[in-house]
């Protein structure tokens, strides 16, 4: 009962914040709202017992990405210009039809938390039954991420590394040129 109440409160706040993000023109306020949005989703993940995901969402979504967006904001304008006026009917129709199709698609899905759902029948039972025994790690998420799916995680780390290299190549060059000038 209390779970449903928390879900309703969190989801309605998410919707309110999403609308506020669309309506607000001050980009600083939008970044703060994004941060609150991430924190609320972290709470939602916590209600779903996905503590690892909630942890990541709170640290990355609400923390680091907010700081990075603020750093970016310092380089650009802090106000969004008013969009040119146009009729909203065609976009509204497209969005409504897509939403209707998405809702129609969820009707066929197995009920939430159903252990017989196809997604839970493939490799998950083996991880749950053998995971603690085979890896000796009580936290199943760590066992799957680091051991069973170790190759995937290597790919993820490489993606983070590549992102760092990309940012350095695109934005990091200016300082070096400055230093060269100083030497001359």
């Amino acid at each position: 009962m209390i779970d449903i109440l928390i879900d309703i409160i969190l989801l309605s706040f998410l919707a309110i914040i999403a609308i506020a993000i669309i309506r607000t023109r001050s980009l600083l306020a939008v970044i703060m709202l994004f941060s609150i949005f991430s924190l609320l989703s972290a709470g939602l993940f916590m209600v779903l017992d996905a503590s690892d995901v909630a942890f990541t969402e709170a640290a990355v979504g609400a923390g680091i990405s907010t700081v990075l967006m603020l750093a970016t904001l310092a380089l650009t304008k802090s106000y969004e210009e008013k969009p040119s006026s146009h009729r909203p009917w065609i976009p509204l129709l497209v969005v409504s039809v897509t939403a209707a199709f998405l809702v129609y698609g969820t009707i066929d899905m197995p009920p939430f938390g159903d252990p017989n759902a196809p997604a839970h029948q493939h490799v998950a039972p083996r991880y749950i039954e053998q995971g603690a025994k085979e890896t000796g790690v009580p936290n199943l998420v760590t066992a799957v991420l680091a051991s069973y799916r170790g190759f995937d995680t290597l790919g993820e780390v490489t993606v983070v590394f590549t992102a760092g290299i990309g940012v350095l190549l695109l934005l990091g060059g200016r300082q070096r040129r400055k230093k060269k000038k100083e030497k001359r």
């Binding site: 680091i64 990075l68 025994k133 680091a146 290597l154 780390v157 983070v160 200016r174």
Partner: protein, 139 residues
């Protein structure tokens, strides 16, 4: 923000706690929620707080970007290197069972090492990105 006394005092008080918590998340990830990725982000958050309060130049003296670039590559190297060590010990790529006498002990060791690699890379890349973005604004 050099003259903001309250911020400076609170930041000095908070930064060691944040670093300690990051290390806890890093090395206790086998037993509780967390792991290299989250730990790396929290670790870098401590230094970002330092940079915001004490200035970018001071923070870059504490952790030079050059060192961060090397650390970011070392993390990936540790991870991929573990895979090659298991290859040479006769197992498959990233098959930690061969790292120790007991398969379970090998798994434990392997997970600890690769999580360390993940933590090092994530924290240094996050800091690098922050330094690069914030450094653009310098006059």
């Amino acid at each position: 923000m050099k003259h903001n006394l309250i911020l400076r005092v609170i930041a000095k008080f908070l930064i060691p706690i944040i670093v300690l918590f990051a290390l806890y998340v890093q090395f206790h990830g086998d037993y509780s929620p967390g792991g290299g990725f989250q730990a790396g982000v929290i670790f870098s958050a401590a230094f970002i707080l330092y940079a915001i309060v004490f200035g970018l130049d001071t923070a870059e003296r504490v952790v030079p970007p050059r060192v961060l670039q090397i650390l970011a590559s070392i993390g990936v190297l540790i991870y991929a290197g573990t895979g090659f060590v298991t290859l040479f010990l006769g197992g498959n790529f990233l098959d930690y069972n061969v790292l120790a006498e007991q398969p379970v002990a090998g798994q434990h060791l392997g997970i600890l090492i690769i999580e360390l690699g993940v933590g090092i890379t994530v924290s240094s890349v996050m800091l690098l990105i922050f330094f690069t973005f914030a450094g653009r604004n310098r006059p």
